[in-house]
């Protein structure tokens, strides 16, 4: 079925002057406060619109840049972070609140403490508590937050932790208004705090009809830029085919999560452009290294050589992915091209198997995750392809699958021999891959599904975590990656691309490798397709020397 073949030229220009942007979203956010959720839908609806963090990512990258904090200094010990808070930042207003003062240190401390301290007046407002903040162990990491003056705060950590800045830049740690909470408390309506959110971001919240739309309008006093978009609507359309139909008919300007078929159709159309960002994610085939024969690196190497990964990229990902050589995607700043890329070489694989003592091959099971994820659109198909490849070297395999919850639980407890899984980063730091996926701690019934515990590797990533000099960190991570390609606790498969469809008369829309979108540099004039204009970078304060690459 081809939706575009019979489609008349869509005419989105129903308005005289173009200032409305409709974004076709995939679902209804459960909450409009990203502190209380880790769902991508909530993040999409809030972080590009209502809120700012202390630090954020340059749109389309994972490079950090100042946002509400203009600069920061880290003490020699790596334990004390001092942030300079931007002056003249205004909060939005709504029917319940009009701010009397601009942003200051109190708001920052208030927002951070809400997720940290049980005695905070808003801590109990959300039943779900603060999954990201707590999940990252920030309550234990942060020992104190002090106000130095109205525009300076200090955060004290219990141990040096260099990913800290990257974590602060995630959309889950927005800065909100203390004064808003005080005013609501006076009116005895504190419960409205998360339902009618107030932030400092480029768009203010107008209304949310669950399952229907979220409406925003431009916040004219935003500290950094004034968008060309005056009205922004998130049109909630859960069915992907209908989402594409709406997009094709001109009912929306941006389409989230297109299917591979939509990308194909989009490529045939001049009026549609697809934005594809290499994602900061990885799909992998993990070997349970606590079981025979996978405890032998030679066997793991042999199995990896037997797989035609290029074919997987082609047929499972429709070429919407790049071949992975390690956990870190090329978009990560710590990425290093592997000197020993894994080739497809069944002959050598057979030879290695013989050396390892399995000349006739053996039997194994492949657990394929039952759900579709951005990093792995079809694990079953992938497992079938691997099964075929393994037959060529005499290894017979069986594909195993369970309902998702059961699957994860059983895999966590190591019931599998090999498993196809993946990981999507939530912050730009390389530690976000290595610690949860491959550290010794995580191998104890947690998210290290190859149950691989290597003392040397563990030491390297721990050192990298405590080091604050980015150059030295990079060296540590290069060492770690080299070790991984020698040991191969899992065979890396692919880094999938995140894609987004946009009408080609809109330019400057950015998508982060982490998946989030940014409307920052967006413009409506039709431009040359190949050269989207670079969004103006935020005014950077000269005091911010200590920035990660």
């Amino acid at each position: 079925m081809s939706l575009t073949a019979c489609q008349p030229d869509p005419s989105p220009n129903k308005q005289t002057k173009r200032s409305l942007l409709v974004y076709c979203a995939e679902g209804s956010p459960v909450t409009l406060n990203p502190q209380t959720s880790t769902s991508g839908t909530t993040v999409d609806a809030t972080s590009a619109t209502i809120f700012n963090q202390l630090i954020d990512y340059v749109p389309g990258t994972t490079n950090l840049r100042p946002s509400l904090a203009t600069g920061w200094q880290i003490s020699e010990t790596g334990l004390i972070y001092r942030f300079d808070i931007r002056t003249g930042v205004h909060f939005q207003s709504n029917q319940y609140f009009s701010p009397s003062r601009p942003l200051n240190a109190d708001d920052v401390i208030f927002s951070l403490n809400r997720q940290r301290l049980k005695e905070h007046p808003l801590y109990k407002l959300s039943d779900s508590r603060y999954p990201y903040f707590q999940g990252q162990g920030l309550s234990q990491l942060i020992t104190d937050i002090r106000k130095i003056n109205d525009h300076q705060i200090e955060i004290e950590l219990s141990r040096p932790e260099s990913p800290f800045l990257s974590i602060l830049a995630t959309p889950f740690i927005p800065i909100q208004s203390k004064e808003y909470a005080e005013q609501l408390e006076k009116q005895n309506q504190l419960a409205l705090y998360d339902k009618f959110p107030i932030g400092t971001g480029p768009f203010s919240f107008v209304g949310y009809e669950v399952d229907s739309y979220i409406r925003f309008k431009r916040f004219d006093e935003h500290f950094a830029y004034k968008s060309q978009i005056k009205d922004l609507v998130y049109a909630i359309t859960p069915d992907p085919a209908m989402r594409f139909a709406r997009f094709a008919a001109g009912e929306c300007d941006v389409m989230r999560y297109p299917l591979p078929i939509h990308l194909k159709l989009a490529a045939q159309q001049d009026s549609i452009e697809s934005i594809q960002t290499p994602g900061l994610n990885v799909a992998y085939w993990a070997f349970n290294t606590q079981k025979e024969p996978f405890n032998n690196p030679k066997v793991r190497k042999a199995l990896s050589l037997a797989i035609n990964r290029q074919a997987i990229i082609r047929s499972v990902y429709n070429n919407q992915a790049v071949l992975a050589e390690g956990p870190l995607a090329p978009t990560s700043w710590a990425y290093q091209q592997s000197e020993t890329p894994i080739e497809y070489n069944p002959e050598k694989a057979k030879q290695l198997l013989t050396e390892a003592g399995y000349p006739g091959g053996f039997k194994l099971d492949i657990w394929a995750m039952p759900v579709q994820r951005g990093y792995n659109p079809n694990a079953r198909k992938m497992a079938e392809m691997i099964q075929q490849n393994l037959l060529e070297i005499g290894v017979v395999s069986e594909i195993v699958s369970y309902q998702w919850g059961t699957f994860l639980r059983r895999v966590r407890f190591g019931q599998h021999q090999t498993v196809l899984l993946g990981w999507n980063a939530d912050n730009g730091d390389p530690n976000n891959f290595l610690t949860p996926l491959l550290s010794c701690l995580a191998s104890q019934d947690r998210s290290n599904y190859s149950r691989w515990c290597h003392q040397e590797f563990d030491q390297i990533i721990m050192q990298a975590r405590q080091e604050s000099d980015p150059e030295i960190r990079k060296e540590h991570y290069h060492k770690a990656q080299k070790l991984l390609s020698k040991e191969l606790p899992w065979m890396p498969i692919a880094h999938a691309q995140n894609s987004l469809l946009v009408r080609s008369d809109i330019h400057g829309l950015r998508q982060s490798p982490l998946g989030g979108i940014s409307f920052e540099g967006i413009g409506f004039e039709p431009t040359v397709k190949s050269t989207p204009t670079e969004p103006e970078s935020l005014t950077t304060d000269k005091t911010s020397q200590e920035r990660q690459p």
């Binding site: 939706l3 459960v30 009809e209 739309y213």
Partner: protein
Amino acid sequence: MIGALLRLLLTSIVSVFGLTLLTFFISRQASSPLHFYRSDNVFTQYFEYLGFLFKGDWGKSSLNGSDVLTELLKHFPATFELLIFALFIAIFFGLLLGILAAKHRGGWLDNGLMGATLVGYSMPIFWWGLLLVLFFSLYLGITPVAGRIDYQYYIKPVTRFMLVDTLISNHHYGFAAFFNALNHLILPAITLSWVPMTIMARMTRSSLVNILKFEYIRTARSKGLSQTRIIWVHALRNAMQSLLTISSLQISILITGLIITEYIFAWPGVGNWLLNAVSRQDYPSIQAGILALSSIVIIFNLLLDLVANYLDPKKRRPI
């Protein structure tokens, strides 16, 4: 008459009890208890649960803590609007096509219509909805794809019946918003009404054809009455009773279709809401959604039974 009425009411009340019993057990699936019960006994807890329902305390969503009844009432107008439209299409066109076919029974019109309804009847509405969108929205470009209104109209939700709200905020956009909203209703309503309409048409035809064989019809015909008059005045009234019984079955088909239709057309009604609640295992909302949709079925059935009773003198018997 009053006896029959009481009997109907009684059956409805029994159904409501059965229904609440079901939702009571669903509500107990929630990870944190929906209500605070004073008693430990499941039996008395059920009555406490009924008490909570009556007081309007339907529990809080396990996802974001919002009041379930408030959320339900927010979604209800969209569903109601769609349902009324679809029902109208199903009954009106169902009857019309059925009568046409009966009138020309055995002819090409009859065969053609019955063939078409058979096709329509066996079509999965998910696919049918997409086909309609493909043709009317993408090829012809005359209807919108999804949603309730174009986004350049900002209609403040007051009653949440879009047709009413567009008229209330009439001073901003004139009638343009109203007609835009009406246009948005067409495809979902056709999709939803399709199966019930075809069943209606087939049933109308078969019961009319049956009745036309009766003696009194022959008498009427021998009196020289026209075929049209015979069908509209004499046959239809008698066919009506069986049609009404069938209609009450259509309601449950309509409700099943409602969930699918709302999902594909991104229609923010109870069906869509229930579907979301199921996928997120939000038991308090599931309980409320089931209660609401099933109540619609019960209430419609009650009303139709009442009308059927009124029309059928034989049923107007005392207890």
